[in-house]
C-alpha cells in the first residue's frame, strides 16, 4: 500500500502527522510529506484514518 499527498490541496493542518507520525511529516513549508514508500502493516489503520480525517481530503491511498 502506497500513500500520496496532493500538495495543491495540503495546507499543513497536520492531522495526518498527529495520527500516523511515522508516516507523515509536516515541514516548515506547511506541507505534509510521506516518509515511507511502502506502508507497514501495523500502520495501515492509522493511515486509513489519516485519509478520512484530512480536512482537505488531500491524501490518497494506492494499493
Amino acid at each position: 500500500m502506497r500513500v500520496v499527498v496532493d500538495h495543491s490541496l495540503c495546507e499543513g493542518h497536520a492531522k495526518c502527522m498527529e495520527n500516523a507520525p511515522g508516516v507523515f511529516e509536516v515541514r516548515d513549508d506547511d506541507l505534509s510529506y510521506v516518509l515511507v514508500t511502502d506502508i507497514p502493516e501495523e500502520q495501515r489503520e492509522a493511515v486509513t484514518r489519516a485519509v478520512q480525517i484530512c480536512p482537505r481530503r488531500a491524501i490518497q491511498l494506492e494499493e
Binding site: S8, L9, E11, G12, H13, A14, V26, D28, D30, Q52, I53, C54, P55, R56, R57
Partner: protein
C-alpha cells in the same frame, strides 16, 4: 435552542408545534421557526431516516435537493468537479436572492466588471479557488497558531477576567436581578481581536469592525437599522461604510509599506502574474473579517449555554481541564453554527437511488450531519469526551474546508480554558435571542447570564 438541548426527548417536548411530522409538512427553511423553536432537529431526523436525498419544494424558495446524511455531505464536499460553487453558495429565499443580484449590479457599477463576476473567492471552483485561497492560508496553519499562542492566550485571559468583573459588579449591585450579556461581554471580544490583529486592522477600529460585521448579518433586524431604513437600505449603507474604511486602510498600508499581516498578503498576492483587483481585495477582506468573528462568537455563546445546560459535563470539565480540546470539538458539533451551504450539479449524479440532474442545486445541512446516528453514537448526548468526533462544523472536508478552523479551535480552547473557574458560578438568565432572517449562520444576538456566588 440551536443544539443546546439536554436530550432529544427533552427537546421534543417543547420544540416542534406539529404533532405529527411528515415529509410533506416538514419545514427546514422558515427562519421564523428557527427563532421560535430552534433548529428543526426533528425534521432533519426524519429526512435522514426516510429521505436523505430529498427534493424540497416550499413557497419562497427555488426547489433544491436537501442533503442530510454525513456521508453524502462528505462526498459532495470532496467532489468539487461534480458540485460547483460558482452558481449558488448559500440557500436564500427568493427576496434575498433578488437583493443579492441588485448588490452584484451595484458592485459592478462601482468597481467595473460584470454583475456575473464571482462576488468573492468562495464562489470559485478549483483551480481558481485554490490559487486565491492559498494567498492567505499560511496565516491559519497550526504552525502559525503556535506562534501566536502565548499572545492570544493572554488576550483570552484578559477578556474572561473582564467578563468575571462585570458579573461580580452586577451581583454586588443588583443581586439576582443583575444579568450580563455573554455575547457582548465575552464571546465577541477574542474573535474580533484575533482576526483584526491578523488582518492588520488597528486596535482603535476593532469596535467599528465588529459593528459592521454584526450589521452585515443582521440587516433584517430593526435593531441594526437606522430610523426609516429597510433591510436593503441598511445593508447598502453598511456595505458602503465598510468599503470606504477598507479603501482607506489599503491606501494607508500601501503608503506605510506592507507588513506580515493578511491585508499585506492580499496586496502582495498575484494570480498568474496579476495583482488582485480592488473589488477582489475588498471582498476577500470582508470574508476574512466577517467569517472570522461571527462564527466563533456564536460557537462560544452556544458552548457556554451547552455547558450550563449539562452540569454533569461542566463538572467533568472542571475536574479534568485537560478535556478542553475535546470539549471544544463537542461544542462545535453540538452547536453546529453554520447551517448550510449550497452547490450546483455539473452533471447528472446518482445518490442513494435519486438522480440529481445537471444544473440542479443541492443544499448540505451540517447540523443534520452532526446528529447522524450512523456516525455519532447517541448523537443527542452532549459528551465532552466524545472520541472520535468527525463533525462537520467546519464543512464537509475538502476544497472549501473552513480556512479559519485552526484559529477558531485555538480561540475556543483559550476561552474555555480560562472560563473554567467562572462557569461553575453562572446560570442562564434568559434563553438566547436569535438574529432574524438568518438561514446561513445560527446567529445569537444576546444571551443573559447571572452570577450565583
Amino acid at each position: 435552542m440551536l443544539g443546546c438541548r439536554k436530550s432529544k426527548s427533552e427537546g421534543k417536548m417543547n420544540s416542534q408545534p406539529a404533532p405529527s411530522l411528515t415529509l410533506s409538512n416538514l419545514d427546514i427553511t422558515d427562519t421564523d421557526r428557527y427563532i421560535r423553536f430552534g433548529f428543526p432537529w426533528e425534521a432533519w431526523d426524519l429526512l435522514r431516516q426516510e429521505a436523505p436525498v430529498f427534493w424540497y419544494e416550499r413557497p419562497h424558495f427555488e426547489p433544491f435537493w436537501a442533503i442530510t446524511k454525513h456521508e453524502d455531505i462528505g462526498f459532495i464536499s470532496r467532489s468539487p468537479h461534480l458540485f460547483s460553487n460558482t452558481q449558488l453558495l448559500r440557500l436564500n429565499d427568493t427576496e434575498s436572492i433578488q437583493m443579492g443580484q441588485r448588490g452584484r449590479v451595484r458592485a459592478a457599477n462601482r468597481f467595473g466588471g460584470s454583475p456575473e463576476d464571482p462576488p468573492d473567492f468562495i464562489f470559485l471552483d478549483p483551480p481558481e479557488h485554490r490559487q486565491r485561497r492559498s494567498l492567505v492560508s499560511k496565516h491559519f496553519t497550526p504552525r502559525m497558531m503556535r506562534r501566536l499562542e502565548e499572545h492570544f492566550g493572554g488576550m483570552a485571559e484578559n477578556y474572561v477576567s473582564h467578563f468575571a468583573d462585570v458579573l461580580a459588579q452586577q451581583l454586588a449591585e443588583k443581586g439576582r436581578t443583575g444579568t450580563v450579556d455573554v455575547v457582548h461581554e465575552l464571546s465577541a471580544k477574542l474573535p474580533v481581536a484575533a482576526i483584526c490583529e491578523m488582518a492588520g486592522v488597528p486596535e482603535e477600529d476593532w469596535d467599528q469592525i465588529f459593528h459592521w460585521t454584526e450589521t452585515l448579518v443582521g440587516a433584517a433586524d430593526p435593531e441594526y437599522q437606522l430610523p426609516g431604513e429597510n433591510r436593503e437600505q441598511t445593508a447598502i449603507r453598511n456595505g458602503d461604510e465598510w468599503r470606504r474604511y477598507n479603501e482607506e486602510l489599503v491606501a494607508r498600508r500601501k503608503a506605510e509599506g506592507l507588513g506580515d499581516d493578511m491585508l499585506s498578503s492580499l496586496l502582495r498576492g498575484e494570480i498568474d502574474g496579476e495583482e488582485l483587483t480592488p473589488r477582489e481585495i475588498s471582498a476577500y477582506f470582508t470574508i476574512l473579517l466577517a467569517a472570522g468573528n461571527e462564527t466563533t462568537r456564536n460557537s462560544i455563546t452556544g458552548g457556554v449555554k451547552a455547558l450550563l445546560d449539562h452540569p454533569d459535563q461542566l463538572k467533568r470539565l472542571v475536574d479534568n481541564p485537560e478535556l478542553v480540546p475535546s470539549a471544544v470539538e463537542e461544542i462545535l458539533r453540538w452547536t453546529s453554527i453554520v447551517i448550510q451551504f449550497q452547490r450546483t450539479a455539473m452533471e447528472d449524479v446518482k445518490l442513494r437511488g435519486q438522480t440529481i440532474r445537471k444544473g440542479e442545486s443541492v443544499v448540505m445541512w451540517y447540523p443534520s450531519a452532526n446528529r447522524d446516528e450512523d456516525v455519532f453514537e447517541d448523537p443527542y448526548r452532549f459528551d465532552i469526551g466524545r472520541e472520535p468526533n468527525d463533525h462537520f462544523a467546519f464543512g464537509g472536508f475538502g476544497e472549501h474546508f473552513c480556512l479559519g478552523a485552526n484559529l477558531a479551535r485555538w480561540e475556543m480552547r483559550a476561552i474555555f480554558h480560562a472560563l473554567i473557574p467562572v462557569l461553575s458560578t453562572l446560570e442562564v438568565a434568559s434563553e438566547p435571542e436569535f438574529v432574524p432572517r438568518s438561514l446561513h449562520v445560527g446567529g445569537i444576538k444576546r444571551m443573559m447570564v447571572r452570577a450565583i456566588a
